[in-house]
């Protein structure tokens, strides 16, 4: 019962956060409300008894990535005049909703076709660090490895694109 209430609470929060992200004109506000979404998602993960993901969501996502984004926003110190004058925003939102509706319906229908199930907490370390870790290194070694390459590429890319050093001619 509490889990249901919590689900609806977190769900509402996350949706509100997402709406805020979409609707707020200043990216700072958007980012803030997006943090709300992330945190409420973390709560939902907890409800789904995914302990590790819950932690990582809080630490890495809400913590690291978002603070990085916020940092950049501040770093660029965006004034009102820098912001795009999005006059037709509401029109685009309305049109967007109309356009996206079919996709949503399709996805929802697809979801409906799945067998349901409840979400009582499964014990026995389901989603615990050890278990997930074991799984990660046993079953999912290859993706794990190549993710490292990916991060390397991102690193180099970031350096190349935003680095400050003078290029040798």
């Amino acid at each position: 019962m509490t889990s249901t209430l919590l689900f609806f609470g977190f769900g509402l929060l996350s949706v509100l956060g997402a709406l805020g992200l979409i609707l707020f004109r200043h990216p700072m506000n958007g980012a803030m409300s997006f943090v709300v979404t992330l945190i409420s998602l973390a709560g939902l993960y907890a409800l789904l008894s995914a302990k590790l993901i819950f932690a990582i969501q809080l630490i890495v996502y809400a913590g690291a990535i978002m603070s990085l984004i916020l940092f950049i926003i501040m770093f660029l110190n965006i004034q009102e005049r820098d912001l795009p004058a999005e006059d037709g925003r509401w029109f685009y939102l309305a049109g967007g909703v109309a356009v996206i509706a079919p996709i949503t319906i399709l996805l929802l229908k697809a979801v409906k076709s799945l067998p349901g199930g409840d979400t009582v907490i499964v014990g026995g370390g389901f989603g615990g660090v050890k278990e997930v870790g074991v799984l990660l290194f046993r079953e999912w070694l290859l993706p794990f490895e190549i993710v490292s390459i990916l991060l390397l590429v991102a690193l180099v890319g970031a350096v190349v694109l935003a680095g400050k050093r003078e290029v040798k001619r």
Partner: protein, 470 residues
Amino acid sequence: MHDLMVIIPLIVVGAGAILLMLLASFQTLSKEALSILTMGIFGFAFFVQLAVSNSGDITPFNDIFNGMMVANTFTKFAGLIVLACGFFSTITAQTYFTQNEEFVLEFYSLMLFAVCGMLLLTLAAELMTVFIAIEIMSLAVYTLVGYDRKSVVRSEAVLKYLMLGAFAGAFFVMGTVFIYAGAKSTTFGTIAGVIAENGLVRSPTMVVGAFFILVALFFKAAAFPFHAWVVDVYDGAPLPVTGFMATAVKTAVFAVIVNFLVMNSELRDSWITFLFYISVITMLAGNLIALGQDNLKRMLAASGIVHTGYLIIAVAAVNAQEFTGGAILFYLAAYAVSTLGLFAALSYLGGKEEKRVSFDDFKGLAKVRPYSAAALSIFLLSMAGIPPTAGFMGKFYVITSAIEADLIFLAIFGIFSSILSMWYYLRLIIVMYFREPEDQFAIAEITFAPIGTIILAFSVFALSFFPVVL
């Protein structure tokens, strides 16, 4: 041991990438040295790939990778094409950088990273792996597109590519979600098993998942209506990168499309109508976009869309039972050869800072540089599919396979679109040959690209008469 051999090219390229990255940070080597090193790495990987005979499906290091990587003849040749594209793009780049000041030492390392991602893509047999490989490839290419921080155009190209790419990536993930929902797993083997067991259509989640995945892949392959970015990005990207994207990325993406679709015949058959309309519209749109362009790179980008359309015909025509993606691979190879040739030629004809980009800049080229003009015409004719070039054979195989798969009208549409494509291919030839020259097409210094052009020009014919991949 054999398992190792199969993935050695992958390892070599990856290691090379990291090596070059480190070397770049020391800033000791000249860009020529880097380029030659890169060519060496590509060449070595190419020959290893060529040496390894992987007939049938072999899953290297099955106990560790759990069949998330599958190699077979198809992947072998796809990898070969990718590596060749890398090699010739490096040649093009080397020449390009003799005429364009802006350069970063990480360039070649990023190129190697991209190729590494592509090789992964050809091999990957698991959706998340595919996604990560796509991301490796894409991130590297994004950076290659925008390495030149001084130019707004490059940055704009990165913005468009990165934003839409990430957008499409999200769709891919969502597709994975639904596949996972339906099949409880993301490895191709299991998915195929599940479909074979209890039909695709009876689990809508799988259909939707496959749909989203295809959408994401078609975005990378620039099929209508996900094509819009291509023209701008190719235009904005530096010339060698454009060539690289046009050939290597397309090859890798189609490799994965084919891998994904042929894992189960029902999966493929259920998408044939989808593929039918997509390819028809793609060819049409590509032709119409290409027709209006005055900028050579944009025209080539648009014609790339058309070729995507052809490739989708071939994809629709492959049959999963005795699958040899021969037609697709040959078409990819032929297209890659002629495109790379064009870009190699443009890289030294383009002049300083890509000053010659539009059709009219090449007025009377034939009078000043007959051989280059001849080479360009050969490549264009190959793209247009005029015999005896490789492009013709590719088109012939595609049409034949379409008819064989009883997709008569698809074949007819393909023919019509190649009729439509005549206009803009012939246009450049006419400009080069029948107009009076205005500038002298001076070339900075002696470079690799002319040689590369000649090699490619010959391989255009060689490929058509000795179709190795078939």
